[in-house]
Amino acid sequence: MEKLGKQTIKFNTPPTILECSSIVGPKEGQGPLSKYFDQCLTDEFWGEKTWEKAESKIIKETINLAINKSGIATTNIDYCFAGDLLNQCISSSFGIRDLSIPFFGVFGACSTFVEGMSLAAICTEAVASNVLCATSSHFCSAEKQFRFPLELGNQRPPSAQWTVTGSGAAIISKEGTGPYITNITTGKIVDMGISDANNMGAAMAPAFVDTLVTHFLDTGRNPSYYDLILSGDLGYVGKDIAIDIAKNQGYNIKSNYNDCGVLIFDKNAQDTHSGGSGCACCASVFSGYIFKQLQSKKIKKVLLIATGALMNSMSVQQGETIPGIAHAISIEL
């Protein structure tokens, strides 16, 4: 493990992403990526009484699935890094309270998944042999906490994004044959003064580009090094802005760049406006779609940059602007 430049860590014995699992809600199950997810629910309650309970169940079952698929005994998992969007991260802590794995709760809003994987990679390099990372989000519980009651007859502006219902989990191991986490670039908070909570893509895009450019400067790589550069949940609006600003900084990413929020829904058929968002957006698209592409060697080098908006409903009401953050990991075969 050595530090490159200001914000990047390079791993000398890169940890392997051993196994991934993903469970998503009904709407995601009707989207273009449905066949890649391990399980698509038909009911957003999943037999539970409240959405919060449903979200806990989703993350719990996703973790169980990842553990089962990997064949590693629960007792051999050294640490778990998990987080979500609900106040004080209740869905992840409630979801894994029965698992008795040493637990670090992490919060990076929608960037939590990559933040967790970064910490897990450092952890495996240092002491651990197997580390679990997971995140979840749920459309209904997020609407309830951040926006309006579901039954309120309001209109969503075209720049608004749709919180993904679902969860993704990954097991990072010291030993393995790849895909490897070779570098991590930890982002810094970038706030460009956007205060519109219905335009998160625009609020987070500058943070994405900041981390992207820093990653290239620290590692000496350029955009064409990667088969795919993937942002977490910038959506259509944010993706457009990100391409623009990156170009302005001298990096043309148009040809190999995409966004999980753009990939997960069919914009026209599913009426999701600017695309998906939420912790589970990046987590489920990576665990479901991208990981399988890596396993089948269709793509070999991925730069995954999860973006997060570090705000809550109170800060928006108080007129605060929205600070954005983005964390990058490069995953290579």
Partner: protein, 130 residues
């Protein structure tokens, strides 16, 4: 009791009502799309505006012209509150300023509370399909 259906479906009054009610809603829609006001703020704006225009006696002309086209939108709710307060003052002085408004709109508020509670008893929210 015999109802004269020709009076009920008096075309002229219904058309006036439709057009005025529709135009008030268009004003609200422009506010939603052009400003970043949340629904709650727009409702507050309309109810306050209705109360002020009602107090100034201007809104009455719109009500006379359009009937429910002016009273059903929330500006009409504000107008009703203001009208009630003024009538209260006329009847019982200072005390009426406090009781008149709520008294005039008590039916609406009370029914919304009761129906809201009932709805929560028998129904639970569902995910929007779109």
């Amino acid at each position: 009791m015999n109802i004269n259906w020709a009076n009920v479906f008096d075309v002229m009054s219904l058309v006036k009502c439709f057009v005025v009610g529709g135009i008030i809603c268009i004003i609200g829609q422009i506010l939603i799309d052009k400003t970043k006001l949340t629904p709650a703020r727009i409702l507050v704006l309309f109810v306050t505006l209705g109360a002020v225009l009602g107090g100034l006696g201007i809104y009455k002309y719109l009500v006379d012209f359009a009937g429910c086209g002016a009273t059903v939108p929330l500006t009409g709710f504000g107008y009703n509150l203001a009208k009630g307060a003024i009538e209260g003052v006329q009847e019982m002085g200072l005390l009426g300023a406090f009781t008149g408004g709520v008294k005039a709109s008590a039916g609406g508020i009370a029914s919304a509370v009761l129906f809201g509670y009932f709805a929560s008893l028998i129904s639970k929210p569902k995910m929007k399909k779109q």
